[in-house]
């Protein structure tokens, strides 16, 4: 649980090798390095992902996008999965 919680408190950005294509259901993400395709099954998650690079933490990005407190664990899990597959990269600044 501590590991998963840390995801929200770290700063992230989309990998520069990732291309995002908005779709009605959310978005498609394609990583040119790993050649992996991922789906964002929710437009709000797309908003979160797109605002990560301007936010001091993923938690702040979620708040700015209007993610409800109760929904945070689900978003945390989705972001963790994106980080695991290198779609997201951690930012140090």
């Amino acid at each position: 649980m501590t590991v998963a919680l840390a995801v929200l408190d770290r700063a992230w950005a989309l990998s520069p090798q990732v291309s995002v294509r908005p779709e009605r259901f959310g978005a498609l993400l394609y990583h040119f390095g790993t050649r992996r395709l991922s789906f964002l099954k929710d437009p709000l998650l797309l908003t979160v992902v797109q605002s990560l690079s301007d936010a001091p933490s993923a938690r702040v990005a979620c708040e700015r996008a209007g993610v409800a407190e109760t929904a945070l664990p689900a978003y945390e899990k989705a972001l963790a999965r994106l980080a695991d597959t290198d779609m997201l990269q951690e930012r140090t600044s």
Partner: protein, 395 residues
């Protein structure tokens, strides 16, 4: 996954996307080989093939539509004199390229160029883990050519290129050997389904897997999970039980389509027939208009009834199988796949009159070089009985 969407993702795909995920573009019908099972009946160049300028205009359009990458094939695409120019043009315009080749133009020099580019992937075709099995289908010397190309790629440090195998009755016993070859060269194995399309229709009866072999493929794929790619082509096998990794859905006109060398847009790379022709990129509005507005694609994106399969317990798993496989074996599109694992197509197939199945629309086979005639290998088994890139991950 976020729990905010109530509609399963697969339903969104069934309704079609703003642009294809997986677009196959066959650049030329010219080929230096004459494989017995060629999906596009390739051999000779078609004089109407898209010019360099027209091909670049298609790439511009794909960039606008945010098509992440195209699967370039043929024919043998590297035969086109502007192949490398088009490859560079696509990459410069943020359209990744995975191209399929028999390896004949992959030299040490080209391998080094390819290895340095993240936006290019290479897929080497090999249909036998031994020269004997491969060359019987792909032609004399084609095994050695493919192996040499893989050596060049591995030597150049190209990691994770694809070794692509069409599963046939003759090579299904070699799945472990194919995996070993892929591992030896640092490649990823991709297995796809034989289709009765193009010249594949001529060898279908002899080469398509037996019922026992279908189970063998399924078990093997289940055991190897996402490490082995399938282009989602074996979803008809989901009727055995658990779904295989991937979408498990016929993506024709919904998430995939084909642009052929003359610019014709078909619903799927294995469905080159007027019945599945949606339009041409040379028409007003180009590819985007065909993809978004063609009557055929609109129809394919409507909910499918399931027809004769609707009452089958496995329908939700296999969704009736492959449209093209049904069509080219003379079966109705709303019935079972010819390789239905429940055996529901057996009786129907027996009633298809000889020669009545639809023929592919174009034949580009070279008259001089007759396609490889199948040579039966010394018999291994006599079990006769009828029986698809991407790494997917949902976030």
């Amino acid at each position: 996954m976020t729990a905010t969407t109530s509609v399963p993702l697969v339903e969104h795909f069934a309704e079609g996307l703003d642009a294809p995920i997986c677009l196959t573009w066959e650049l030329t019908y010219a080929c230096n080989l004459a494989c017995a099972h060629c999906l596009s009946s390739s051999g000779r160049r078609d004089p109407r093939e898209l010019s360099t300028a027209e091909a670049k205009a298609v790439i511009d359009e794909l960039e606008r539509m945010q098509v992440f990458y195209v699967n370039i094939g043929g024919g043998e695409p590297t035969i086109r004199s502007d192949f490398w120019e088009l490859l560079d043009y696509a990459v410069d315009h943020h359209v990744g390229v995975k191209f399929s080749t028999n390896g004949s133009r992959i030299t040490a020099e080209t391998a080094a160029l390819l290895a340095g580019n993240d936006y290019v992937d290479v897929q080497i075709s090999l249909d036998g883990a031994t020269a004997e099995v491969n060359d019987a289908v792909r032609g004399e010397g084609s095994y050695a050519t493919a192996i040499q190309a893989m050596e060049h790629l591995a030597h150049a440090g190209f990691e994770g290129f694809k070794l692509s195998v069409v599963c046939t009755r003759e090579n299904i016993g070699q799945l472990d050997e194919f995996k070993a070859i892929a591992d030896r060269y640092g490649a990823q194995l991709r297995l796809t389904r034989l289709r009765p399309s193009g010249r594949g229709a001529d060898v279908w009866d002899e080469l398509h897997p037996t019922a026992v072999q279908q189970r063998e493929i399924y078990d093997w794929l289940m055991a190897h999970g996402e490490n082995v790619l399938t282009g989602d082509s074996f979803f008809h096998l989901a009727a055995f039980g658990e779904a295989l990794p991937g979408l498990n859905l016929c993506g024709a006109g919904r998430v995939v389509c084909l642009i052929d060398p003359v610019g014709d847009v078909y619903a799927c790379p294995v469905a080159i027939h007027d019945e599945f022709l949606a339009g041409n990129v040379r028409e007003e509005g180009g590819f985007q208009k065909v993809w978004r507005e063609s009557e055929l694609f609109e129809t394919l994106r409507e909910p499918q009834s399931g027809g004769a399969c609707a009452s089958c317990s496995a329908y939700d798993a296999c969704r009736g199988g492959c449209m093209a496989a049904k069509f080219f074996t003379g079966l109705p599109l709303d019935g079972p796949d010819p390789e239905c694992v429940k055996g529901n197509a057996d009786l129907l197939l027996a009633n298809v009159a000889d020669g009545s199945a639809p023929k592919p629309s174009g034949d580009h086979s070279r008259p001089g070089a007759v396609p490889v005639t199948l040579m039966r290998r010394p018999d291994r088994s006599c079990d006769e009985n009828p029986l698809a890139g991407i790494a997917l991950g949902a976030s």
